[in-house]
């Protein structure tokens, strides 16, 4: 399913903040095209810092971050833990923001927005304002905004952390469905083991103080993954494996 073609690789990446916090220590990681990688670990282990470095929102203190194809770097989208919507703009204008910033012609942008809102099932809420939406719908808008630029690389930092289980499962299925069509390279931060196993082709477990990667588990289950997979023995095996690695991370 993944054809081991590297997109980025990090070599001995260290990140030390001005106050002396070592957020990442000697991190090595190669991300291949169309992989769905989840990062799991206790809070403070540098998951957000890693994503921000890859997105170019933060710099490494030492080490290197290499891009194999610069177009991936330019076609990168980020979904934050909070929906981060502009309260003064409608759903449509929020989704249109990246296109507007890229000075895409109005007509083309409108068409893209319509298509993207359809993908996340919000075509009937174009004129709504964020405050009129539920938490799950806001997150969908945030995802639609990320998808509007047709990214090849998608970074999500605990996007569904604040949602209830039912909404989270629904969004997981929708995300997985979209991923199987579009085959973005996905980096997904979560603290939910079940979510990580269900979605990912690879789960990386991190430990804190200093932040580092301690396990890299391949989830070798082909897509499409369904409700059936969620109830399968393989699934619980993988969850157990990740949970074990995580408890080791917590105690180290």
């Amino acid at each position: 399913m993944t054809n081991d073609q590297p997109v980025i690789s990090l070599h001995d990446v260290n990140k030390v903040f001005e106050n002396g916090t070592i957020a990442l220590e000697n991190l090595n990681l190669t991300v291949n095209r169309s992989e769905f990688i989840s990062f799991v670990g206790p809070s403070g282990c540098g998951k957000s810092t890693l994503l921000r470095i890859i997105a170019g929102l933060s710099n490494v203190s030492s080490g290197t971050l290499d891009w194999y194809d610069l177009s991936d770097r330019q076609n990168l989208a980020f979904v934050f833990q909070e929906p981060a919507l502009m309260p003064w703009s409608t759903v449509r204008d929020n989704v249109k923001l990246p296109l507007r910033l890229a000075k895409i012609p109005q007509k083309e942008a409108e068409k893209t927005v319509d298509r993207t809102l359809q993908l996340v099932g919000l075509e009937n809420f174009k004129r709504a304002y964020p405050r009129q939406l539920s938490g799950g719908m806001k997150m969908r808008v945030s995802i639609a905004r990320a998808l509007s630029t047709n990214p090849t690389m998608l970074l999500l930092d605990e996007p569904f952390g604040a949602l209830d289980d039912i909404t989270r499962n629904k969004l997981n299925d929708d995300l997985l469905e979209l991923w199987s069509q579009q085959r973005w390279t996905v980096l997904f931060v979560t603290h939910n083991i079940y979510e990580a196993v269900y979605l990912s082709t690879r789960v990386i477990i991190m430990a804190a103080r200093p932040g580092r990667a301690i396990a890299d588990i391949k989830i070798d289950v082909p897509s499409p993954r369904t409700e059936e997979f969620r109830r399968s023995f393989v699934y619980s095996e993988y969850c157990q494996q990740v949970a074990d690695a995580l408890s080791k991370a917590m105690s180290s």
Binding site: L57, F78, P87, T149
Partner: protein
């Protein structure tokens, strides 16, 4: 999420809330006590006129007082408009770099802390050929600060994630200002507007007192001064009522404007039960 209690009602009924009834009741009570005690103690009108006498004076002298008030209104509006535009401009300029902000902001504070009554005479002397401009300048100085301080605060209080998002998509400085910082600042700017409107009126009245000039285009404060010299105390009170009424009108109008603009999209205007 937010529901507006009063919206469920309709017509005049929506005004019948504790917010309106309580202050009106207090007002009527005070006026009644005032009227009765002045009459009972036989206090002469040149010490303290009754509310009813103030009202009849207001109606009788309307032809003198209203043109004067109109002059004050013109000064207030001119000063307010100037303060809004210059304040906005200065704030946006300061938002361009920390250096500009740090160099200019202290002077905005100096302007704010200088008592207007103390510099008004100077301004009036400097601009002795154009009293209207001098009065507008005084009122502008008073009205400017809330616009600058509120707008600057608003321009700097941006959601961290949105700021990252704009950076991620390579937004230019201009795009960030237009699509992120100015909209973020709007609720703060509008509340600055409300304060500034009232201060413009106060500035205009204080400056008129200091100028003390007569002529065809004298303002309401001058009428108060003259009425005071001539011991026409009821007329003084009538002028005071007009100034207060104008102040309330300005506040209500700016609040309505703020609600109308923010109503649609800002969380700050979502009322919670």
């Amino acid at each position: 999420m937010g529901t507006n209690k009063t919206r469920a009602n309709f017509g005049w009924q929506r005004w019948l809330t504790i917010d309106t009834i309580a202050p009106i009741a207090v007002g009527l009570l005070v006026l009644t006590v005032w009227e009765v005690s002045v009459r009972v103690t036989n206090t002469p009108a040149y010490i303290l006129p009754t509310p009813s006498l103030i009202l009849t004076t207001l109606i009788r002298d309307w032809g003198i007082l209203f043109p004067a008030l109109f002059t004050t209104i013109k000064i207030t509006i001119a000063a307010f408009m100037t303060a809004v535009f210059s304040g906005l401009l200065i704030s946006v300029l300061m938002a361009q770099s920390k250096w500009i902000e740090k160099s200019l902001y202290p002077y905005a504070i100096v302007l704010q802390t200088t008592p207007i009554a103390a510099i008004a005479p100077l301004i009036i002397i400097w601009l002795r050929n154009n009293t209207f401009a001098a009065l507008v300048l005084c009122a502008w100085i008073v009205a400017l600060f809330p616009i600058i301080s509120n707008t600057t605060f608003g321009l700097n209080s941006i959601d961290a994630n949105l700021r990252d998002l704009f950076r991620l998509y390579g937004a230019s400085r201009w795009q960030t200002l237009l699509y992120l910082r100015l909209p973020s600042a709007l609720p703060y700017f509008l509340s600055g507007l409300r304060i500034s409107g009232g201060l413009a009126l106060i500035g205009a009245v204080v400056a008129e007192f200091v100028a003390g000039t007569g002529g065809a285009n004298s303002g309401i404060a001058y009428q108060m001064l003259i009425a005071g010299y001539n011991l026409q105390i009821p007329r003084m009170f009538a002028a005071l009522v007009m100034i207060t009424g104008l102040g309330i009108l300005i506040f209500v109008a700016l609040s309505a404007l703020s609600d109308a603009i923010l109503g649609d999209w800002h969380e700050s205007s979502v009322k919670r039960d």
